[in-house]
């Protein structure tokens, strides 16, 4: 009975603790770790014997806000010369976190792959092949050849980065695999670069 008499005291103590412990935390700014803000295609001419010649040049697609609702990304034009072959390297960067995502993609090469689609390839204006070290089909480093008679000066190159795909899916090792979605996974990048052929 003695205990029962004290019961209300315990009850109210429990209530008081419950209510006091129940304030929301102050919000903390969250750094977008996953976001890609800059994608750079770097080109350098390759001569007949396979050596790199001339100065490298690049075309960049950037969206400083990542995927937040805001301004549309700015995408630079790729200028190429007909009949030439280029080494094309792709770098992916998160400027919010100041983090090079290319390194992560290389690390998880088994789960990532770039695909190159668009009129530049369907119109046989450009041809592309993976040139990554150790023969992995990844697409961070590529060989890109421009037709000597492209028929048009303006075309488009769509660069897609797939994540979590089945790389053994039939046809998935083709850099121009239009049915990439069938290999599963999801798109981390889907950018269409305008291409001008001189």
């Amino acid at each position: 009975m003695e205990n029962l008499r004290k019961l209300p005291v315990y009850l109210f103590a429990a209530l008081a603790i419950g209510f006091a412990s129940c304030d929301s935390d102050d919000p903390a700014p969250e750094n977008e770790g996953e976001v890609i803000t800059d994608v750079t295609l770097t080109f350098q001419e390759v001569n007949a014997s396979g050596g790199l010649v001339g100065a490298p040049f690049s075309a960049k697609a950037s969206d400083p806000e990542g995927i937040e609702v805001g301004t549309a990304p700015t995408i630079q034009t790729v200028n190429l010369v007909k009949g030439k072959t280029y080494a094309m390297a792709i770098t992916v960067f998160n400027s919010i976190e100041n983090e090079d995502i290319t390194a992560e993609i290389l690390e998880e090469a088994a789960e990532h792959q770039f695909y190159f689609l668009g009129s530049a390839f369907t119109g046989n204006i450009l041809t592309v092949s993976y040139a990554d070290p150790n023969g992995v089909a990844l697409g961070v480093i590529n060989r890109l050849s421009v037709s000597s008679s492209p028929g048009t000066n303006n075309t488009q190159m769509r660069v897609i980065l797939r994540h979590d795909l089945d790389k053994n899916f039939p046809g998935a090792n083709n850099p121009n695999f239009a049915n990439y979605a069938q290999a599963g996974g999801e798109s981390d990048l889907d950018i269409t670069f305008p291409v001008v052929i001189n």
């Binding site: 102050d26 890609i36 697609a61 990304p73 069938q182």
Partner: protein, 770 residues
């Protein structure tokens, strides 16, 4: 005071009117109702005797009794029921029909051998109410709460695959309905379409669905209806009962074990306890032709309560824990609009792996703690004071497929604290009146756990809701009338960082709600109920503040901080017939909702480096929902039984004159059961054959990712065997769901865009009570 005058007046009118026919015609009727003083629950099988005529009557399930062919005069009525004080009262019969309600008080537990009535409160409402218990509950074991509730006409589910399902009452779900875990309103992150209620269906021995607007009784947001998940009442005398459920399913190789034990102390009278726990594990769900990748789940739950009850005091402490890990169909998680379109065009997932129990990202990990203290004290036979306090902590983590270290970090990590406190006073007076009034506080704090590497979808916020309510009920024989009012005020203060800028908002909402209702027992077989109730719901934080990409859904959702509260007015009418062979329940309703909040596709797309996304915005418009539920059963012979359940819902945006997405299509479920047992005990073996028919939803919204799937029909068969092992009960159930392995898609399943629904599932259910 006014009422007293009114009764005098009525009495005088009565006397005057009866003067005319005072020629000693013995055709008078005395009707009545017997209720527990404690909680207004009807008492079945109470014995009523008229001393003068030496005639007796026994109350039916609803506590009703009737005497016919009585002569005018004064009679002495006695009412007897085991464990209750005898009622002796004189009744003056004058008019053609006299109605009288008697309340019976429990005898003090000092008397030996008397069973004390448990303190579980019954739902007292004139709205349409349906409960799942006993056999129906046994058959639903192994299913999630949402799935179990599909057994109630008018209740469907809004689901995300086969593991996440939210109950839908009359077309409303999520924050528009309410779920009570043992009397405490469940507060999780209910706003999300893919957020299932955090509750273990095994803790209940009864699940009740109230289909009316019950804001006055239960607080804001209960505009579509209320689901009460109630454990059995704690024993108040020496008694022990253990129940073991063991279930296995062939689809997803599901295994489920649940154990509960309840007992009453023999040392301290009135002291009882209950402990309960369950574990569940399932792997990839199989559609008729393939496995759905990453659709496994695991669940671990337990609860315990201890209670004391004497003739004046009742107290209970309760705690429940819910923990689940749910895999989300891999291919439903898309990177951008073209991914989404690709998979929808494909008609099935691209990845079709073998069976596995393994759960990978994307997945959800959710835990929920709920603690409750409840007590009541009878100040006098007429007055009872109640205190109810609940504490809840909900943790929700959602993991996406991400690169590197981030893959091990959740993209959404929320911690929600909720305190609820209710102080109320119940009274019963003059046999006919009963009511309740009280105060209610809900306090909530939501925090994003930092470190997700994603701008939070919803901000951190603090919410306080203060409410005051009063309701009163009048019972006179076959007639029950009730009404109530409530006032709530809610303040929300939210804050978060977007692009390193602090955004804050302080919001206030005030609302008044009310209801009136009635029940009339037209005859011993027929009852009519009607209830008109207003309800409101403040906008959710996600509706106010969403700003950005909904990961995986390829949608950019834009909230609107200027949204106002939704206000609804729901009218529910029910007609119930309970004959010897037939049972019919018909519910018809209309629900007018002002400022209904919905996610509207803007038709615009948003372009980013990741690709293109559809843009959705939260808008408000007036909505009108109406429809009916019909259910019934018929006993053809003592072996053959038939049943039927069906519901039709119509919902329209009355401003735009178009339809809302995810409104259940017309459906019916019907079947026969045949008892195979020995003569005299035919129910020991029963075979049930049922058929579910679901129509195509032809009232589609203007924009949808894919057209509504076609109509479908599923056949199920079940076999139930009851065995008596010594004094113990052993139940064996064998069920085959979707016998013909039909490939179908349910309109209310959000994964219908990506995959077919579950294929054939053979379930073995063992239940042992000792």
């Amino acid at each position: 005071m006014k009422f007293r005058h009114l009764t005098y007046l009525l009495f005088i009118l009565f006397l005057l009117s009866t003067q005319v026919g005072y020629g000693q015609k013995c055709d008078l009727i005395l009707r009545g109702k017997i209720l527990h003083q404690e909680n207004d629950e009807p008492i079945e099988a109470a014995y009523i005797m008229l001393l003068e005529t030496r005639t007796g009557a026994v109350t039916d399930q609803k506590g009703n009794f009737v005497f016919r062919d009585l002569c005018p005069g004064v009679y002495t009525v006695t009412v007897q029921f085991l464990g209750h004080k005898e009622v002796r009262q004189t009744v003056n019969l004058t008019g053609s029909t006299t109605n009288q309600t008697f309340r019976m008080e429990e005898e003090s537990i000092g008397l030996s051998g008397v069973e004390v009535h448990g303190h579980r409160d019954a739902v007292q409402t004139t709205t349409a109410v349906t409960s799942l218990y006993g056999e129906a509950m046994l058959q639903s074991r192994g299913e999630s709460l949402g799935e179990s509730l599909k057994r109630v006409a008018g209740v469907t589910t809004f689901s995300t695959g086969n593991t996440i399902s939210k109950p839908v009452i009359h077309g409303l779900h999520s924050n528009r309905i309410m779920i009570l875990n043992n009397g405490i309103r469940l507060e999780g992150q209910q706003w999300g379409a893919e957020h299932a209620p955090e509750i273990d269906p095994f803790l209940a021995d009864e699940i009740t669905v109230i289909k009316g607007a019950e804001t006055v009784r239960f607080g804001p947001e209960a505009m579509g209806g209320v689901i009460l998940v109630n454990p059995p009442a704690l024993p108040t005398s020496k008694k022990h009962l253990t129940e073991i459920n063991l279930l296995g399913g062939s689809n997803a190789y599901m295994g489920n074990l649940a154990v509960s034990h309840l007992g009453g102390s023999d040392k301290i009278k009135g002291l009882g306890y209950r402990v309960q726990g369950s574990v569940k594990r399932a792997g990839n769900v199989r559609t008729p032709n393939y496995y759905q990748a990453n659709t496994g789940m695991s669940e671990l739950n337990f609860s315990g309560s201890i209670g004391y009850s004497s003739d004046r005091l009742g107290a209970e402490i309760y705690y429940s824990y819910f923990n689940t890990e749910l895999g989300i169909l891999r291919d439903s998680h898309t990177g951008n609009l073209s991914d989404l379109e690709e998979i929808i065009n494909n008609g099935e997932p691209f990845i079709k792996p073998a069976f596995t129990y393994e759960i990978n990202n994307p997945k959800q990990v959710v835990s929920h703690h709920l603690a409750k203290i409840k007590s009541h004290y009878h100040l006098s036979p007429e007055w009872k004071i109640n205190l109810l306090y609940g504490f809840q902590l909900n943790n929700r983590q959602e993991f996406d497929r991400r690169r590197g270290e981030l893959n091990f970090r959740p993209s959404l990590d929320l911690e929600l604290f909720t305190n609820t406190l209710e102080l109320s006073l119940d009274h019963t007076r003059k046999q006919n009146w009963s009511g309740s009034f009280g105060l209610n506080v809900i306090q909530q704090a939501n925090s994003n756990i930092p470190g997700t590497g994603v701008t939070p979808l919803i901000p951190n916020y603090d919410m306080v809701n203060l409410g005051a309510f009063a309701m009163e009920k009048y019972i006179n024989g076959p007639l029950e009338l009730e009404g109530g009012v409530r006032f709530d005020t809610r303040s929300v203060s939210a804050a978060r960082f977007v692009n390193n800028q602090l955004q804050t908002a302080d919001l206030e909402y005030q609302n008044f709600s009310a209801f009136v209702g009635g029940l009339y027992q037209l005859s011993p077989y027929f009852a009519f109920t009607t209830n008109l109730g207003s309800a409101w719901r403040p906008p959710n934080v996600n509706e106010l503040f969403s700003q950005g990409l909904h990961h995986g859904a390829a949608a950019v959702e834009i909230g609107d901080p200027d949204l106002v509260s939704e206000n609804s007015l729901k009218w529910v009418n029910g007609l119930e017939y309970e004959g010897e062979k037939a049972l019919v329940e018909f519910t018809v309703y209309a629900n007018q909702i002002q400022n209904y909040i919905y996610l509207n596709p803007t038709g615009e797309t948003f372009v980013s480096l990741r690709g293109t996304f559809n843009v959705y915005e939260y808008l408000q418009a007036d909505a009108f929902f109406y429809g009916f539920d019909l259910s019934g059963s018929y006993t053809f012979t003592d072996r053959l039984n038939g049943y039927f359940k069906g519901s039709i819902i119509r919902a329209k945006n009355t401003e735009e004159e178009n339809y809302f997405p995810f409104i259940p299509s017309d459906r019916m479920d019907w079947g026969f059961s045949y008892a195979l047992g020995k003569k005299g005990k035919p129910d020991s073996d029963r075979i049930t054959l049922s058929n579910l028919l679901v129509a195509k939803q032809t009232r589609e919204p203007d924009f949808d990712l894919a057209p509504a799937p076609p109509a479908y029909a599923l056949f199920n068969i079940g076999y139930q065997k009851k065995l008596q092992v010594a004094k113990n009960q052993f139940n064996i159930g064998l069920q085959v769901n979707n016998i013909f392995n039909t490939e179908y898609r349910e309109y209310m399943n959000r994964f219908r865009y990506f995959t077919a629904d579950m294929g054939r599932n053979i379930l073995l259910k063992l239940n042992y009570q000792f």
